[in-house]
């Protein structure tokens, strides 16, 4: 099971080490981990995407995280309405004659070209995991020279996802 877990932690030295050390010694399998300061400079926010075998495995991850003195709050956001984004930088081979084609290709993804050289361009894309994967797949045939991804960072939505996905229209419009 792929799970997105968010933890708020004390912004103290070594806290990242505590968390990654915990994952390593308890044999938890992490796919990505992101960390950064929150609106409160004393608190950092960590987002983990991880693979667990079953609900008991997930419970263990959350409980072990909670046991850490520097961990303030842990939430499993997988089944919640969330905003989850990651950023990817993709350096793609692009001889001048294919550059226009690539520009057109990435346009629906609202990705942008942030660096251009004679042989390659660097594309920046932001979005959820599926969107980033889709763009990577699409540009793969052109030849990816380098790829860097930040991993997911996530928030719980204030409004429910359902409301946003299928907006209700009144009789008037």
């Amino acid at each position: 099971m792929r799970k997105t877990i968010v933890a708020t932690v004390n912004n103290t030295s070594g806290v990242m080490n505590r968390i990654t050390g915990l994952f390593a010694r308890r044999n938890f399998n992490i796919e990505s981990i992101t960390v950064g300061m929150t609106e409160n400079p004393r608190v950092s926010r960590m987002t983990f995407v991880m693979n667990v075998d079953d609900q008991r495995g997930l419970d263990q991850v959350i409980k072990q995280l909670n046991k850490q003195v520097d961990v303030l709050k842990v939430r499993d956001l997988t089944d919640e309405a969330i905003v989850a984004r990651e950023l990817a930088l993709i350096k793609v081979l692009s001889p001048p004659q294919q550059r226009g084609e690539l520009t057109d290709l990435i346009q629906p993804f609202r990705a942008s070209i942030i660096d251009v050289s004679r042989e390659s361009i660097t594309i920046q894309v932001t979005g959820d995991n599926d969107k980033v994967e889709a763009l990577i797949d699409l540009v793969k045939p052109y030849g990816i020279k380098e790829l860097a991804r930040t991993g997911i960072t996530a928030f719980k939505r204030d409004t429910k996802k359902g409301v946003i996905d299928s907006p209700k229209y009144s009789v008037i419009n």
Partner: protein, 575 residues
Amino acid sequence: MNTKVKEENGRELKVENQQMSGSSMLIQALAREKVDVIFGYPGGAILPTYDEIYRTGIRHILARHEQGAIHAAEGYARVSGKPGVCVVTSGPGATNVITGIADAMIDSLPLVVITGQVATSVIGTDAFQEADIIGVTMPITKHNFQVRNVNDLPNIIKESFHIATSGRPGPVLIDLPKDVSIAIGEFNYDEPLDLPGYQPTKIPNRLQIRKLAEAVAKAKKPVILTGAGILHAGGSEEVLEFAENQQIPVASTLLGLGAFPGDHEQFLGMGGMHGTYSANMALHEADLLINIGARFDDRLTGRLDAFAPYATIAHIDIDPAEIGKNVETHIPIVGDAKEAMRMLNEEAKTNCECGDWKETIKEWKAEYPLWYTEDDELLKPQRLIEMIYEETNGDAIITTDVGQHQMWSAQFYKFPKPNQWVTSGGLGTMGFGFPSAIGAQFAEPDKTVVAVVGDAGFQMTAQELSILQELNLPVKIIIVNNASLGMVRQWQQLFYEERYSNSLFPIQPDFVKLADAYNVKGWKIEDPAEMQDILKEALAYDGPVLLDCRVHKVENVYPMIAPGKGHHEMEGIKP
């Protein structure tokens, strides 16, 4: 010279506005935490603290190796229930206490360990006696702190004692750089704790307790498993009340011994790898298993998929991460064992109807008790433990290392009361028994403390005989001497076709002479006929003694559940 002036200024100022050096803060804080004894060993980076120890006269027990100091602190903590305090220097001093920290972590013992550290200005430069003890101990402490600013020190100490002793107890380490211990700061120990990420649940959810009470009322074959959580919570009376009211049989883990009276008729003995037949069969056949403060360790459960196959599992634990970690739990109860049992005693009104079950268990107990073959020529180790039990009236504090002598002590010493059993359970540390007895003797100066140790384990920390010599501490050391690494030898016999690789110790020191070198009275006993008399004399002797008991060398610990087997597949039960 400069430093000294500063310190003197610090001392002068301390009366008026509580300005003082980091090391004075430490000693002041220890006094505020009512620490009456610390175990340690000095060295370069911790010199300022040792200077303060010298000047204040706080009781410090000087070990001869840091490992001895930390095991003594563990023994003290296990018996007194108060945090054990250990002070060592940086680098090798700090790395020498790692085994003890890991031991305390896995057996949930409250410790506050203070390690010196090189000055903050040179941290990270591979300075003399520098070791990254924070990094090293992160996975084996409940929490650790490095003090970067002297003004943070009072809070850090206060938080350390709170974290070490509350919730599920454990070791907390404070890494104190030398410049911080010299620096002058403000000592304010009255600020409230600020630990938003640490809020252990003490009071359990009453609805869950009710669920358990209902399960008890329905159960036909209930069994209680007592763990060390009861000892930490001080909940023995509540457990006894519950077990007697409901007439439920009680099995114990290794570390839980003493939580329920070992001589009680409902007591089945220890369960697990070398547990009794009745305890293991009760766990296997039960339809309701009430685990109170035990963590379903693999030595207890055996093969997990064969563990308690018919039982509804109820698990009371103060650490939520233990619930469901190894065994799927149907009735989870997070909270303090004493509180939980108090509430359960209120809720459990209907008694379970388990007359047949009681009969079955009675038969098991009568039919398959612990056993060994008696011998007139050879001193049997099991008989030796029985004699210790008889001669101390079951009232002594027993400490052990790990291995055969530990299992025999657990089997044949029927601990009637809590906190008389000090053993290295989870980590299985050789060399733990003797120094932990020293700590136990400080916790209970008037009690008989017997260190039951193996001949191999004793040699790992034998240097602490110096403490006995120095203080005339009346610890009774009993070496169960089979001239081998008994448990390793047993496994090699059973599972490695008797290839005794490095487990036989035919060459041994003369332990009596060794004792004599430290001015400790020693006896060597080979003839079982003289054992009892010498034991009597040794126990009555006012001072430290060492008994080198030459037991039957190839005796094995039985019964046994072989690795990978279930509770119903015991070997070596009484024929």
